[in-house]
């Protein structure tokens, strides 16, 4: 057993506490099926699909739930003739 290694390691419990606080805050807030980020995701995709045929493979949705802010990144490849197709 390498004791130096053991003592030099930072405590892991604070990380656990912080991760749980963020996660549970989000889970509790979303009593139903969707929290705000999920709702936004679905609505944004709905709006976009009104204007163009969405190719699921060309859409990337990323979320990162944070303590103070969450981020939602919707990355969509819009083909040049997308608008014409939908119309």
């Amino acid at each position: 057993m390498n004791f130096l290694r053991l003592f030099s390691r930072p405590q892991s419990a604070p990380a656990a506490r912080e991760r749980l606080q963020v996660l549970l805050a989000h889970e509790r807030a979303s009593a139903g099926d969707s929290d705000l980020v999920t709702k936004l995701r679905d609505e944004i995709l709905r709006v976009i699909s009104k204007h163009m045929q969405i190719d699921d493979e060309k859409v990337s949705v990323k979320m990162e739930r944070g303590a103070q802010v969450s981020t939602l990144a919707v990355d969509i490849e819009i083909p040049f003739d997308a608008g014409k197709k939908a119309a």
């Binding site: 996660l23 699921d56 949705v61």
Partner: protein, 271 residues
């Protein structure tokens, strides 16, 4: 075509999720492309153990219901670019897992990955039988303790009857992963011996994972133990187990003992 592995046990809390994450990461650390799938619908935890809990966008049920493409639901690990997670749904119930849906998802994953690791929920109900249904290989996670061994025996029965392999008259490849093994208690004679568990369950031994604080630390920081501390005793045991999964024959060392298990255990085939 990838291999589908189910990590199962019957009993809860024996180390299935810990082992799914650690073995998945160990295989990916070796360069293999790995997808770890959480089948514990309603009580997902693999995302937390792998440190991806804040990045879940879609889940297995979304994919099955056609609400998201598989590629959108897979979360790539931040540390290992060949390791992916398909999270379970936290909010919906198990009925959303349909056999047809699961079959499609597994088939697609098999095409894209070297290994598809299915983390089974506890119990012997629908979730557990769906997780094992398409497996090529089963890892039976067992603690050296009476109720765990009994439940594992039950699960081995299901693996030999309720899986596609079994229904096609083929033999399911089964491996025993003995986890939470405590050398101090073994020394005192208060824990079932490795030989005893092997003799009772009579399936080959994939590895012995010692009870260790390193596992707790890894889960605190959201990292599979093989990534959190690759020189820790449980990490080394998981790395060895991953090599055996790939077909290498390495002797299994019993934690706290010098003795190595080898021909003896591997020679003993399931009935």
């Amino acid at each position: 075509m990838g291999k589908v592995i189910v990590v199962t046990s019957g009993k809860g809390g024996v180390g299935k999720t810990t082992s799914s994450a650690a073995l998945g990461a160990a295989l990916a650390q070796n360069g293999d492309k790995v997808a770890v799938v959480d089948f514990d619908v309603g009580l997902r935890n693999l995302d937390l153990i792998m440190g991806a809990e804040r990045r879940v966008v879609y889940d297995l049920v979304n994919v099955i219901k056609g609400e998201a493409k598989l590629t959108q639901a897979l979360i790539r690990d931040k540390r290992l670019e060949t390791l992916y997670l398909l999270p379970a749904s936290q909010t919906r119930d198990k009925d959303n897992l349909t056999p047809e849906g699961v079959e499609k998802v597994i088939a697609a994953l098999k095409n894209a990955f070297d290994w598809v690791i299915c983390d089974s929920p506890a119990g012997i109900e629908r979730g557990a039988t769906l997780a094992m249904r398409h497996a090529d290989v089963a890892i039976v996670v067992t603690n050296p303790e009476v109720s765990s061994v009994r439940d594992s025996d039950r699960i081995i029965g299901l693996l030999d009857s309720k899986t596609l392999k079994a229904e096609n008259g083929e033999q399911m490849e089964k491996h025993l992963l003995l986890t939470r093994y405590d050398p101090a208690r073994a020394e005192r004679g208060d824990m079932l011996k490795v030989d005893d568990v092997l003799e009772i369950l009579s399936i080959p031994l994939l590895g012995i994972i010692p009870e260790s604080m390193d596992v707790l630390r890894a889960s605190n920081v959201g990292s599979p133990v093989t990534l959190a501390d690759d020189r820790s005793a449980p990490a080394i045991a998981y790395f060895d187990a991953a090599r055996r999964l790939k077909g290498e024959s390495l002797p299994v060392t019993v934690p706290g003992e010098k003795r190595g298990f080898f021909g003896k255990i591997f020679g003993r085939k399931a009935a």
